[in-house]
Symmetry: C2
Subunit: 276 residues, 2 copies
């Protein structure tokens, strides 16, 4: 069935690997019969900074409160046109892909600013004006899929389970879990290309093939099994129930299925591989 | 002894808690005899997006490669004046404090853009043009201290060891470890104020007192014991030696001292409290 896919990307150089894979992805997805929407943040000269100019008609002109003004602007059709256009693309999309080079273990500022500005109160948080009632698996974006496609300058071993940078999927948890799953999207394991600082022609070809293959599973592959807030694992909507993820804490406790491994001091410490 | 402290902050509203604590900090630090430098990112209208305008005289005018152009600009005095001014402040500082509201479990885009643009090749990475030889505890910023001061809208329990958002210090690892420790700074445990979305007058007073107290230890308190790349724990400069952090993997394996706890299935799974 024909789907709509939004690709939001943050790389100004047309010959970069990021841009190359954006093009590969468009071709692959359209080849599958899907419709592709694009947000070329650099090309759009996207305004990165979330500030008073985002609120054209203020609830409180005397004091800038971002949450209150975001709720007011989103709820009353008072947002800026650029933000509204992005929200409409997300609404139209069955899947959202964020494609970017990893800068300081996170998104380039222009992409972080896309999140800061577009993920409004009422849409991405505070759904139905109900505070945190609908979040983590529930919310306005429920039913959509999301995936990060990241170009990583360094070698894969630096991001391996005991690599010096930390495992990539754990470094990206604030984005996958805290930003994409938070408003309800199902999140696929991150797709990473490593060693892009010195990639060869063969490496580029392999990256193209890897990305095409990955996109074939965009609507079929298993999601990261993040635990839903309202699925029973968090009875008070804040903390894991005592019978869930017994003996575990930290980021990985919020991923289901880790209990299935035989528990011992050694194996319990190994995070499951939630990477690509 | 008189020290110099740089506070970089990202909140445009003068009556916000962030700005209030910036003022409290300036007063407290100056009261201790220190000199304070300020970077008011919103007030400076800081350019958040790292782009071609950062490179006024290009190494390669035909293709924008950020790392190569950053090295070229930093090494040849070709950076923009705003970036140079920030680097001079960092050089002059004995401690750097980043003070901001937590947005989507990370820095506001304007602050991420301060990192993206100011942390140049040759300064914050690629020190001495030696690739990754000097990083994680080694580098141009070695000897300086750094701390995050974060205003968190949600309740502390959501960030507790089994809280639904994940522990705050793990969510901030890409910043504390990957951004501040990477170029050599010693990083203090994060200072967080929770529940700022609905803070009372008493809460503000408590936050003031907490921040003043915390700043008394700025140059004395123990740092997060991140493992140094060149200190012996990473013989190949990429992966932990097999005798280090035995049986551990993931972000917390890069913090020393966790081995001291008696090891059992339960205790080994508990991250040490590296929070405030």
């Amino acid at each position: 069935m024909k789907k709509t896919v939004l690709i939001v990307y943050a790389q100004p150089e047309p010959t970069s690997l990021t841009r190359h894979l954006v093009n590969v992805g468009v071709e692959a997805l359209e080849g599958q019969g899907h419709k592709v929407l694009l947000s070329n943040l650099y090309g759009m000269n996207w305004k990165a900074t979330f500030d008073e100019h985002d609120f054209q008609s203020r609830l409180d002109p005397s004091r800038l409160g971002f949450i209150a003004e975001s709720e007011h602007a989103y709820g009353n059709g008072l947002q800026t046109a650029d933000v509204e256009a992005e929200q409409e693309k997300i609404s139209a999309a069955d899947a959202v892909i964020l494609q970017f080079p990893l800068w300081w273990f996170g998104m380039p500022a222009i992409l972080k600013g896309w999140v800061d500005r577009v993920f409004a109160y009422g849409l991405a948080y505070g759904f139905k004006g109900a505070g945190n009632k609908y979040r983590y698996g529930d919310g306005a974006l429920k039913g959509k899929r999301a995936m990060l496609s990241v170009m990583v300058g360094g070698p894969e071993k630096d991001y391996s389970p005991r690599g010096i940078n930390g495992p990539l999927e754990q470094l990206l948890f604030p984005i996958t879990h805290g930003t994409l799953f938070f408003p309800g999207m199902g999140v696929l394991p991150t797709h990473a290309v490593y060693g892009t600082g010195s990639i060869t022609a063969e490496g580029v070809t392999a990256a193209e093939e890897g990305w095409r293959l990955r996109l074939e599973g965009l609507f079929e592959d298993a999601l990261i099994p993040f635990r839903s807030q309202n699925g029973g694992d968090y009875p008070d909507a804040h903390v894991l129930a005592s019978h869930v993820a017994v003996g575990q804490s930290g980021l990985l406790a919020h991923i289901a299925g880790r209990q299935l491994a035989p528990r011992s001091a050694e194996t319990a410490l190994q995070p499951i591989d939630i990477g690509a």
